[in-house]
């Protein structure tokens, strides 16, 4: 366990999660599920079920720990309209991680614990890029810690629920269109710790040996920054206009309602399908309220006007041998960002993702799962606030691996 803790600590330090899937929501909560397009609400296979459906934990056959990581490599490019100016992203590789445990108190009741990174992104653009007065870097990172209880009502029904404590940090940087005598642009950096609370609830229903259903509801979590640090690096003559001060802000992480179906077509082949409703409409605006304002430094309100959206996930798992599983999936994610609101923070787009993965049962105690996800996003827009206009294209590669320990 100390080794596991060390790994968790390492991953936490190497931090930030990466832009993936709708908005800045990251859908990397389990390797088996990732390999199957993100579906798994009705298919309790491992302790990642703590996230996917608290109601189904009680149907897990063994006690289990699992630790996983999904290194995320995102490469983006922006072509400004009417120009021949291309800008590249220089985002670092990020390491969204998962840790889950499930333990049977008795035959009916199980406890679970999850720590995972459902929301987050680091978007960093190359120095001097044409949108630098809109954004140079945005880092969002949230860890959800979720203690969970799951109760098996009978052989067909299970329910469960978890309390979510969310903690994270945000850092937003941009250049200001102010230049000093040596030609350096002024910069603004807003950073702060954020936290919030929520819940994750689920029902699992397995009417036959072959067919199962899952219904989950994850509440909205309002990530609040109460005393963030605003740091301005400006020419000295403007220092009184840009005082280093504190700020308040908040970011809603949306509610998600999911309906899942799993069907065991043959002894070897299992299919799973999830449909998510994502309540992004809550993200109406991004506000920064500064403690000290001046004629130049005013509170800001940036319209976001996200809309509620859906995603659909389909996956299959084929047991090649008793120890060896192959998985494939695809997902279709509809962007919550309306035309006129695409920003270089999250150049999101509706997309079809392809996923695949393998699982290998080493022995009765250990199983290793790996997955790979590829996303290809392209979006053209003119932002209503900044008038930044052009085409964003992003490739996201997510290889992932997890180790399961059964006991």
């Amino acid at each position: 366990m100390t080794q596991l803790n060390k790994l968790i600590a390492t991953l936490l330090l190497s931090s930030p999660a990466m832009l993936l899937a709708q908005g800045f929501q990251v859908n990397l909560q389990g390797q088996k599920q990732q390999a199957m397009g993100g579906a798994g609400t009705a298919l309790p296979q491992d302790a990642a079920t703590v996230f996917f459906n608290p109601g189904a934990i009680s149907f897990l056959k063994q006690n289990q720990f699992t630790l996983g990581v999904s290194p995320t490599i995102a490469k983006g490019v922006f072509l400004e309209d009417n120009t021949n100016v291309l800008s590249q992203t220089k985002s670092p590789v990020s390491y969204p991680f998962t840790y889950y445990g499930a333990y049977a108190i008795n035959e009916k009741l199980k406890v679970g614990l999850g720590a995972y990174t459902p929301f987050g992104s680091t978007m960093k653009w190359e120095n001097g890029w044409s949108g630098r007065f809109a954004l140079t870097k945005l880092q969002l990172f949230a860890v959800f810690i979720q203690p969970t209880l799951s109760y098996k009502i009978n052989e067909k029904w299970g329910i469960g629920g978890g309390f979510v404590y969310a903690t994270g940090k945000v850092n937003l940087q941009k250049d200001l269109p102010i230049i000093d005598n040596s030609g350096n642009y002024a910069t603004a950096s807003l950073s702060g710790n954020a936290n919030g609370f929520g819940g994750n609830f689920g029902i699992y229903y397995k009417p036959t040996e072959k067919l199962s259903f899952g219904l989950t509801y994850r509440t909205q979590v309002n990530m609040k920054v109460n005393s963030g640090k605003a740091t301005f690096n400006v020419p000295s003559s403007l220092a009184d206009q840009f005082p280093n001060t504190t700020f308040k802000s908040s970011l809603p992480l949306p509610q998600v309602l999911t309906l899942g179906i799993a069907y065991k077509a043959t002894d070897k082949l299992t299919l799973a399908f999830d449909a998510n409703f994502v309540g992004w409409k809550a993200y109406k605006k991004l506000e920064f309220d500064y403690k000290d304002t001046t004629a130049t430094l005013q509170n800001t309100i940036s319209e976001r006007n996200y809309k509620n959206t859906y995603s659909f996930r389909l996956g299959g798992q084929y047991m090649v041998t008793e120890k060896f599983a192959a998985r494939l999936g695809l997902s279709y994610l509809i962007t919550p960002i309306q035309s006129g609101y695409v920003t270089p923070e999250v150049p999101d787009a509706t997309r079809l993702n392809f996923t695949g993965g393998l699982g290998y049962k080493v022995n009765d105690h250990f199983t290793v799962d790996a997955s790979f996800t590829f996303e290809n996003l392209k979006r053209s827009d003119k932002n209503k606030e900044t008038n930044l206009m052009g085409t964003y294209k992003t490739y996201i590669y997510v290889p992932g691996i997890s180790v399961i320990y059964n006991f």
Binding site: K75, V77, F78, A134, S237, E385, T386, N387, Y397
Partner: protein
Amino acid sequence: MRLSTKSFITVTALGALVACKPKLKEPSPDKGSLDVSRYVSIGNSITSGYADGALYYDGQKVSYAALIAEQFKTIGGGDFKIPYVPQSSAGVALGGGFPPAVTARFSLQYATDCLGATSLMPVALSPTENFSFFGNNIYASQGPFNNMGVPGARSFHVAYKGFGNFFNASTGNYNPFYQRMASNVTSSSILGDAEAQNPTFFSVFIGNNDVLGYALSGGASDSITSYNHFCASIDTIIEHLTKNGAKGVIGNIPDVTTIPHFTTIPYNGLTLTQAQADQLNATTSGIFGFHAGPNAFIIEDASAPVGARPMKADELLLLELPLDSVKCHYMGALTPIPNRYVLTENEIAAIRSATNAFNGKIYLTAKAKGLAFVDVNRFMQNAKAGIVYNGVTVNAEFVKGGAFSLDGIHLNPLGNAMLANEFIKAINLEFGSTIPWVDVTKYRGTIFP
């Protein structure tokens, strides 16, 4: 475990290196019906890249004409030679006297006023040149010049032969800036030097000084070019430049109220306490009715009963108003502000009516000759209201607005880049080309210490 974590991170970092980057194809610029291999720009100080009250190297480098020429290179544009002032120079501008004193460019610095208050303001650097600078002709060593923008040039100067000739000073047809770059100091003209390069494309942005010269004198001296003279001058310029089939672009003249030089100092900037107002009323027998709070400045007006009157809300003060006299010596209260610092209603009306008439001529010429037309006036009106470009808000406010240089008349690099894009848009529209726009964010606004 530590080792494996490390190697894991190394492996993923390697993966990040080899992973394909997404590609977007830069549009390949189309030249439409254009041949821009030899581009010549004709104009005044704005075209020359004059900024911060002087002509200097860094300003010349980013004149809108130079920026257009840079974009032309994507469709076969050639060299664009500029009569550079040496990079080491603090800039050259003409002051008073004859031969004129040479002044240098402004930079934003702290300065203390007569009340002992220190604040940021444009302060002229010490000149590094004297008037002999202009006598050192650089045509043979560096010419011919593609940028034929000459500070101070008016429409009728463009075709004037001998515009660089000192002996024409008595008739107002001598220009030191042209003297320095002329092919023949005694007898050449801007237009002749342009034509001699057999340009395939030209830009003409001239006429501001035909009204601005008058405006900058506060309407006190100088005069507005007559409509007929202006029209004849424009016709001559365009006929000569188009005679070999060259294509071109022409820009119109911005309204005087879009220029911060005329809009920065408020008409009612005389702020008084009750005691000050009482004292002033006592001294002036109460004829102006001074009161606590903001008061209209008192200006000279020969037609007013006492030869002075309060300024009206739609009248304008020039930026060179001696503020120390205002703050410490009752200028604008006991001493009326001299007419040369004020544009009165009548003067503004004369400027407007000439600007409108000239702009009408420019538009009709563009249409008749198949030139691309740039509505610089509308662009400046938009800038006055505020333009948001890639997250930068730019407006015509002095210093803070971010588009004008420290003289309040000429654009700074960012403003020039935006103006260059207006020209490029007009050219693309008229000639079916797809010349890429300038990336405005690469050009600076105001420099702050």
